[in-house]
């Protein structure tokens, strides 16, 4: 098997000294080395984002619980914590594996094999993007999360919700329990919610407060903690959560999107025989492969930080 490295290695050994300018540093081609260093710099960008997430999360007295926030999936599935995002992870892992196969076929100068496995890789990447589009649509459109608004909050102390007359109901919650602020539906067309908060006038009610944006802040009586016995209402969750979520997963999603675009371009070039004529074991496929694995690598940490912790 004649691969790029072997070619370069033999080539550099044929010269007497490294001073001839023929030796490749680290026995690797220029393009691949620069791809590694680009990925290194990109890793620092992602690390900066994720560390900022960690610092802000540590600085906040409460934080939305991921298994509550990310518990919906398409086809009306509710209360399925992390299931959808696990499927997304599998899509990226599978597309990473098909990319390895494409690189292997490239080393064998098997054009059909490269095109076939790259095509599967593109399908995987596009599938991931589709899933992310659904996730964002659900968060923005249905759950009303935005860069500046985070309706996912959590209770600091235990308590009981109030009913329409302002009396304590049987609906209790524990300290640390999560909640989602629903919006008052003007038309009442949302069929999925059984909470009964479809249409409430703005302003103060005995059991809730509806703010100017229509968010319903349910009222409750605290049963524990320093303010036990007081009536309070559900507040918005930490504001930074929305911005961090959309910017970090968006930045990763943009990497996937550009990866899919480059994979498409390179696959078309492979099919039209551009790289076969270079006779370097389809090195361009290897380079986009490095990038594609990196996107999967970053997802490992985005997945860890946003969904598992």
């Amino acid at each position: 098997m004649e691969t790029t490295e072997n070619v370069l290695h033999q080539h550099s050994e044929n010269h007497e000294g490294s001073w001839e300018g023929a030796a490749a540093p680290f026995n690797i081609s220029y393009g691949k080395l620069m791809m590694w260093y680009f990925l290194l710099s990109d890793a620092f960008t992602f690390a900066g984002f994720l560390i900022a997430y960690g610092a802000l999360r540590f600085s906040s007295p409460s934080w939305p619980v991921p298994d509550f926030v990310f518990s919906t999936a398409p086809f009306g599935i509710h209360d399925a914590p992390l299931i959808f995002v696990t499927v997304m992870s599998f899509l990226l892992i599978i597309s990473s594996v098909t990319m390895v196969r494409a690189v292997q076929e490239g080393h064998r100068e098997n054009k059909r094999g490269v095109v076939f496995w790259m095509f599967l890789t593109i399908i995987g990447g596009a599938g991931f993007l589709g899933c992310q589009a659904w996730e964002w649509t659900n968060l923005i459109g249905k759950e009303n999360m935005s860069v500046t608004t985070n309706p996912f909050g959590s209770h600091i102390d235990a308590g009981t919700y109030l009913d329409e007359k302002g009396n304590a109901t049987g609906e209790t919650f524990k300290a640390g329990a999560s909640y989602l602020l629903h919006k008052s539906e003007e038309g009442g067309h949302d069929e999925g919610h059984a909470e009964g908060h479809h249409a409430m006038a703005k302003g103060d009610h005995p059991n809730a407060f509806v703010d100017n944006d229509g968010f319903i802040h349910k009222k409750f009586k605290l049963a524990s903690g320093p303010a036990a016995g007081q009536v309070q209402m559900e507040e918005f969750g930490p504001k930074a959560f929305g911005a961090l979520f959309f910017f970090i997963t968006g930045f990763h999603g943009f990497h996937v999107l550009s990866g899919v675009a480059f994979l498409l371009i390179i696959m078309i070039n492979v099919a039209s025989g551009v790289y076969a004529s270079r006779k370097n074991g389809y090195e361009m496929v290897e380079k986009i492969g490095l990038y594609w694995h990196f996107v999967d690598l970053v997802w490992v940490f985005v997945f860890l930080v946003f969904y598992l912790f």
């Binding site: 620092f44 390895v100 598992l308």
Partner: protein, 139 residues
Amino acid sequence: MSHKTYEESKKAVVKGLFLLGFVTLIEVFISLFGKGHIIPGINDITWIAYPVGFIIAVLSIYKAYFIIYEFMHMAYEVKGLALTVLLPTSLLIWALFAFFQEGTAWKARREFVKEKNAKTVEPLKGKQGYVEDTSLFRL
């Protein structure tokens, strides 16, 4: 590149697929266990989050190692290349500790400010301009 035959490397790819998939499933399971979805009530134990967080972090680092060394072929590159990539990355370990410490400090500051804001000070009689709350400047 790899010192394997074509058939061997094809098998290694399938092995990698199952390994990464399996580790991901374990991670999700442990994460849900720590949040009390497998055994209800286990999340009431406050320290459970620490071993759970540690295990899933280690498993994620293992996945990262596998992707870099096998899929990105770092294992078959010259050692110097691996070092130029991995040594700068290791600086981030310091950043992790520093910034998480920083975040914890912000939280403590904010709580301190809240606490001070909630305090009511009795209006003083007689001595005007005498600041009672600052022991440092007390003459």
